[in-house]
Symmetry: C2
Subunit: 140 residues, 2 copies
Amino acid sequence: MDKKSKSLSKNQKIVLDFIQKNKKPVKAYSILSNVQKKGINAPPQVYRALEKLIEIGKIHRVESQNSFVACKISNCDTPHKTVFSICNSCEIVSEINDPKLFKNLKDFRDKDGTVFDGYNLEFFGTCKSCKNKQIENTKH
Amino acid sequence: MDKKSKSLSKNQKIVLDFIQKNKKPVKAYSILSNVQKKGINAPPQVYRALEKLIEIGKIHRVESQNSFVACKISNCDTPHKTVFSICNSCEIVSEINDPKLFKNLKDFRDKDGTVFDGYNLEFFGTCKSCKNKQIENTKH
DNA sequence: AGGTATAGTGTTATAATATAACAAATTTTT
DNA sequence: AAAAATTTGTTATATTATAACACTATACCT
């Protein structure tokens, strides 16, 4: 049994469920309006669930978007160590799981030798699909 | 002459000046209240200046804090490629300029081979000074 | 099982962060 | 000097997030 899978509360389940259903990251108030039929009425209920879900690593916060996305890494035991690629055009976000990069970041320490508890890395660019669309549009 | 140093507008100078005076990152509304005596009256004036200063690389946005900090890298010609260390305790932010890490990030491409225009990396931990204070407090 | 500590809930109000929209002034380019 | 582009000043409002408080459910302990 996984220590982290203590079982979520009602609101935590509702919020996680909604986030997992979405391929793209979702915003807090979008979550709110989508789960009101399930009995979540006010922002603090959403933000509390988000806080907990982030803490246990089930979701991540995409800082540059103020949005939230489900962790895609199975059996994720490393909350607060995240790498994303973000398309500047369609804003789609993918979680990156690159062992070499992961190791580089994990082992990094600064000039003082400080070790870090966590990190968040966001790459920005144009995703393949958007790049293709741009090329389409160039053809007169 | 540097292409980027086109000369800043009045509000841009005022805002940059204030950010550069501060060792810690500053928040937009803190900037506003501190430059009101210089004739900047409303949020949009601050946010516009911030937007431009970020664009030209004079300042960076610390995403996890919604705050803004002057670029510490002399002759910075790489806006949107930033690495910070952030103390969880005192929230002080240092810009990291590590050639090896820089190269790793610059050269990184994802599974599709996509090259990225930029990135933002934020490391979280406890800075030396805060760690020392914690040890002090342990000594009954 | 009963007591108590911990975590979660529901609610109202409000704080903090950020942008839209528009008219006027300034600077840059031609 | 006219046209174009940028910056300004302003009001209003949108978006994101938290404080505070009373209450309820769950876990945990001997």
